[in-house]
């Protein structure tokens, strides 16, 4: 496979923050590449630099063979982007928004209506095409933006938090559309999210934190890298239980999160029966599961993804 995006030593400093601190990565043609990270990690900053909307402090970016700092117009023509914030013209109808986009991107005149129809079908907005966008719900607007991003058949589609602010049902629907699209058009997708389940659909995930990429691999590989199983338990007296665990249990990594104790072990089957016998404190809750991307994040940063950095 070929790299469609390559990023080298990319940095961005604002007046008093170093938002991106020298990151490197490649995105392969046709894959779904996910950027996972908490608020302020630098995801949008990175995407905006790749999309020519923000000038990097240093480093270089090549997309589809074009250098982002030199061939801006060629880069702009090869990408589609759904920004984190709404960029529709709400006073115009859905169709008018799409038609303007065709004209901005020089979609051939005789193909325009056909393509508009096509993308509207993908996102199920055919019926609503003559309505003004201001009458749309949040989810409909987001779908329309995705449709618009596809009109000019971009090589790479960037989606910056495509589902932020939407209810779980709409989110699930939106992902259906996005996956349907990837199947149909085979375009490369670059998405950012701070929802873990959403990152799971990516072929590869880059975990970003405080301006750095701390891990990059397929979700499965990242989780396998942690290995083993995770046992979550609550007891009647966690402090006492912890003491006992530290004394008697050697083969588990122990972390505590509020009133839950996490034990990471190589294999829960062998471990759990003897463990329950060793512990004298009554267990109130017990749960065994495979690691998630959150555990990966936790392992790398010592924080959960939703937590803010404590200085």
């Amino acid at each position: 496979m070929e790299s469609i995006i390559s990023v080298h030593n990319l940095t961005k400093s604002y007046k008093n923050v170093e938002a991106v601190k020298g990151i490197n990565f490649e995105v392969e043609e046709g894959e779904i590449f996910g950027f996972l990270g908490p608020n302020g990690a630098g995801k949008s900053t990175t995407i905006n630099m790749i999309c020519t909307m923000l000038k990097p402090t240093s480093g270089n970016i090549v997309i589809n063979g074009y250098d982002v700092s030199k061939d801006k117009d060629a880069v702009r023509g090869s990408i589609g982007i759904i920004f984190q914030e709404n960029t529709l013209d709400e006073k115009l109808t859905a169709h008018e928004n799409l038609m303007l986009h065709c004209r901005f991107y020089n979609v051939p005149k005789d193909k325009r209506e056909e393509r508009i129809q096509e993308v509207l079908e993908i996102v199920d907005l055919v019926e609503e095409k003559s309505q003004r966008v201001e009458t749309f719900s949040g989810g409909m607007k987001r779908r329309l933006e995705i449709a618009r991003g596809l009109l000019h058949y971009p090589k790479v589609l960037f989606l910056d938090e495509p589902t932020v602010g939407l209810d779980p049902q709409t989110r699930a629907h939106l992902w259906e559309y996005i996956l349907r699209l990837k199947e149909k058009e085979g375009i490369t997708m670059f998405l950012t999210t701070h929802y873990l389940d959403e990152a799971e659909i990516s072929d590869r995930v880059a975990i970003m934190d405080q301006g750095d990429i701390i891990a990059i691999d397929s979700p499965t590989a990242l989780k396998d890298q942690l290995g083993g199983d995770i046992i979550e338990l609550s007891t009647e007296d966690n402090e006492q239980a912890l003491k006992e665990i530290h004394e008697k249990v050697k083969e588990a990594e122990v972390t505590v999160d509020e009133d839950t104790i996490h034990l990471k072990v190589a294999s829960s089957d062998a471990f759990i029966s003897s463990f329950i016998k060793t512990l004298n404190i009554p267990i109130t809750r017990l749960n065994i599961r495979k690691p998630t991307l959150n555990d990966v994040f936790l392992a790398f940063t010592g924080r959960k993804i939703g937590e803010t950095v404590k200085e």
């Binding site: 020519t52 702009r76 023509g77 303007l100 986009h101 901005f104």
Partner: protein
């Protein structure tokens, strides 16, 4: 090219959909016409005609001030329509435009043509008031003046565009522009002649594109061929630069150069807006 037309059409479409804006922008010129055309016309005439010898000719202030008020409307509408750039930034649409492969100069030109067209339409709508004011201009003259109005609209829109590409808030824009618009109206000859001004004011008069626009419009609209030179003097229809009388052609050239420079600066500012 397609990009320019798309941007231009979008602004026009939005203008026609916004009925409040369509009619709201009429209040200011009508107010000025009431004050200057009705209320003050008597005293303005005495003031301006004061130096004229008895019987040198008829003098009608309203005829003098009407093209000025049209030019003023062009100025206000052009500059405030250029504010659409700031609105587009606020509502995020500017990102959709900026991330597309349209050249930055096309964005500037498209926006400029949009504001200029809207301003010209508003200016033409003022023509409807001509019979009410008891004026009569030659129909041909009114048609001939339209391209000049559009040209002045382009120059003023590009000025507005430069400001709106540099400023990020509508309030900031309105404040800045108000400071700019007032002297541009008063020191242009739109409302009263600016022939005998102190040097520093004269300098502003001479670099103000509205001066040339108003002068051209008056020359086209007012029947100057049958007018005595004393009356022309009194009406301020004798604009000179470095001591020589300007022709319409020279004035048009000045406005065109002004527009080009500002569109260029606005383009640079759009280029710098991001990467």
């Amino acid at each position: 090219m397609e990009g320019i037309i798309a941007i231009w059409q979008r602004d026009l479409l939005k203008f026609f959909r916004d009925k409040a804006r369509l009619f709201g922008s009429f209040t200011m010129p009508i107010l000025f016409l009431l004050i200057f055309g009705g209320g003050m016309s008597g005293s303005m005439e005495t003031m301006m005609a004061g130096s004229m010898p008895e019987g040198a000719g008829e003098f009608n202030y309203v005829e003098f001030v009407f093209p000025g008020i049209v030019a003023m409307t062009l100025l206000m509408t052009s500059i405030f329509s250029a504010m659409s750039v700031i609105e587009d930034k606020d509502f995020g649409y500017m990102k959709e435009i900026m991330v597309s492969p349209i050249s930055r100069v096309s964005i500037a030109v498209g926006k400029m043509l949009g504001s200029a067209t809207i301003a010209t339409i508003q200016g033409i709508m003022l023509f409807l008031l001509i019979p009410l004011l008891g004026l009569s201009y030659d129909i041909m003259a009114l048609i001939q003046v339209i391209p000049f109005m559009f040209l002045l609209g382009c120059a003023l829109s590009s000025l507005g565009l430069l400001f709106s590409s540099l400023i990020n808030s509508t309030q900031g824009f309105q404040l800045t522009v108000q400071i700019l618009v007032m002297p541009m109206i008063f020191l242009s000859g739109a409302l009263f002649p600016v022939s005998n001004m102190p040097a520093w004011m004269d300098f502003i008069v001479k670099i103000n594109p509205v001066t040339y626009g108003v002068d051209v419009m008056k020359k086209v609209m007012v029947d100057i061929e049958n007018m005595s030179s004393t009356v022309m003097d009194a009406m301020g229809l004798n604009l000179t630069l470095f001591g020589r009388q300007l022709t319409i052609f020279e004035e048009v050239i000045f406005i065109v150069i002004f527009a080009f420079i500002l569109v260029f600066l606005a383009t640079v500012s759009f280029k710098r807006a991001n990467a």
